[in-house]
Subunit: 145 residues, 2 copies
């Protein structure tokens, strides 16, 4: 994929998927949203090869979704924390999870609940202004404003 | 990535990204949502190698996001049309686009408008029951119901 071309093109979907358009990056963000911060935590959760994990963490950090922080001086140890940009992606992952549950949820899948009330959370994507579910809105792409 | 393990695990995000967790698949779905149906249309839009495109279309068809239909008998020609499952993914792509526009939208990026009214469409992910923006809701994962 010509990531450079797509990451600077006029389509914001292309710009986004050039940054987080692979499954590992999405699962790393998911785990970061669940509170994981350390290399070995991600590795254990994902069963991912260390070199691949290191590359993905570096890319997500370079693109501004994660911030790399030193939490120990000797020996030097770093953790990875979601930035505002990365945190903004979490609702999308929740919507992806809802889609996965609807269409590929046979058998046992975990659920998302409100951390305070325990009530089930059901992500839906709406238009901010009208409140209409975007599933029901016919859209088209318009040139830049 | 051990797709087989993740695609049948208990996490619906994992199940989803095992199906559409790569940039090409996401861009193919985006283009299908914009009305493209034919192999050469996707190829031209994406600048993708034919063998990669063929593999992605076959995977999206096998996973039930696209339906392969014959539109010409002699010579045999097929088109790819979104299923309900694939169409359900489009609002997620619109939310991804909004995220891309917010965080990586420097310069000119296209906009999403209501096809009927021309009004700008601003995707936001909320909880269906409470209407609260999920960006502001603290969630946790609960075991299967």
């Amino acid at each position: 994929m010509d990531c450079e071309k797509i990451s600077s093109g006029t389509c914001p979907v292309g710009r986004a998927v050039a940054r987080v358009g692979d499954a590992w990056s999405l699962l790393i963000l998911r785990d970061a949203g669940l509170g994981l911060t350390r290399f070995d935590e991600f590795q254990k959760s994902l069963g991912i090869a260390p070199n691949i994990l290191a590359r993905r963490l570096a890319a997500l950090t370079a693109d501004g979704l994660l911030e790399r922080r030193r939490y120990n001086e000797r020996p030097p140890r770093h953790e990875y924390v979601l930035t505002d940009c990365g945190r903004d992606y979490l609702p999308i992952l929740q919507a992806i999870g809802a889609w996965g549950r609807t269409h590929f949820g046979d058998g046992s899948v975990v659920r998302l609940v409100d951390a305070e009330t325990g009530a089930p959370v059901e992500p839906i994507i709406v238009d901010r202004v009208t409140g209409r579910a975007l599933r029901d809105v016919s859209v088209r792409v318009a040139p830049p404003a």
